[in-house]
């Protein structure tokens, strides 16, 4: 039974990683990265590596999205300034 679980989690990691590469827009990519983080955490737990899974959860659930979206915001605001009072 554990093989089936490992297979499913591997497939989910592969699917979400491909999606993370395929999505081009940074804001949407932050979302896909969060889901990829969740899939990785499950895979790490299934192969009995809970410490690594916990690290992935701690960093991937709130910290990474915050860093990415703040950068997206900074780039957008800089864009608005160059464009004058658009």
């Amino acid at each position: 039974m554990t093989d089936a679980l490992t297979l499913v989690s591997l497939l989910l990691v592969a699917a979400s990683a491909t999606a993370a590469v395929a999505v081009r827009d940074p804001a949407r990519q932050a979302l896909v990265l969060a889901v990829l983080g969740l899939a990785l955490a499950v895979l790490f737990t299934v192969v009995q590596a809970p410490d690594v899974g916990l690290s992935q959860l701690a960093v991937g659930s709130a910290l990474t999205p915050l860093l990415i979206l703040l950068s997206v915001r900074k780039v957008r605001r800089r864009g608005q300034h160059e464009g004058g009072d658009r």
Binding site: V8, A19, A27, L31, V35, A39, A41, T45, L54, L69
Partner: protein, 153 residues
């Protein structure tokens, strides 16, 4: 044939598969709702895995996810408020599904673990997860009024 393992596999395949699909395609509103639902699914899978592997210490992963998962979704709701401004996503059905699934699984595990502090810990995780899911979906559905403001902090 470990029943918990079967439940975890089914929940992972049936619950998290559509989440990956939902977050990779479609409008931004649906992607954020999918991410919020994904947090609940993975937290429940972690609970089931801790029961399946008979390792109560794995429950800490579900605890950290129940605490930080909704905060991640709130980050999206907050910093993507401009993009979500026009038609904020209303996903009450998904919230109800997540809440009921969480209740069923936590009750089943409480029965399995028997009375004691571990059961209280499971209930605490269940409450945190459901409350976080509800608040996050409320925030996504327009919890940040004045989203039209050009930039927000």
């Amino acid at each position: 044939m470990n029943g918990w393992l079967v439940a975890a596999t089914v929940l992972l395949a049936a619950g998290f598969g559509p989440v990956v699909w939902g977050v990779a395609t479609g409008p931004l509103e649906r992607r954020v709702v999918a991410q919020n639902f994904g947090t609940s699914v993975v937290c429940l899978v972690m609970l089931l895995l801790s029961q399946a592997y008979v390792r109560p210490s794995y429950v800490d992963l579900a605890l950290v996810l129940a605490v930080l998962g909704p905060a991640g979704t709130l980050v999206y709701a907050r910093l993507l408020a401009d993009d979500l401004g026009d038609d904020p996503p209303h996903a009450n059905l998904l919230t109800v599904v997540a809440a009921s699934a969480a209740t069923v699984i936590v009750v089943a595990m409480c029965v399995a673990t028997g009375p004691g502090r571990a059961t209280v810990k499971l209930v605490l995780i269940g409450v945190l997860l459901v409350a976080g899911n509800v608040i996050a979906s409320r925030a996504l559905a327009g919890g940040f009024p004045g989203a039209g403001a050009s930039t927000r902090d």
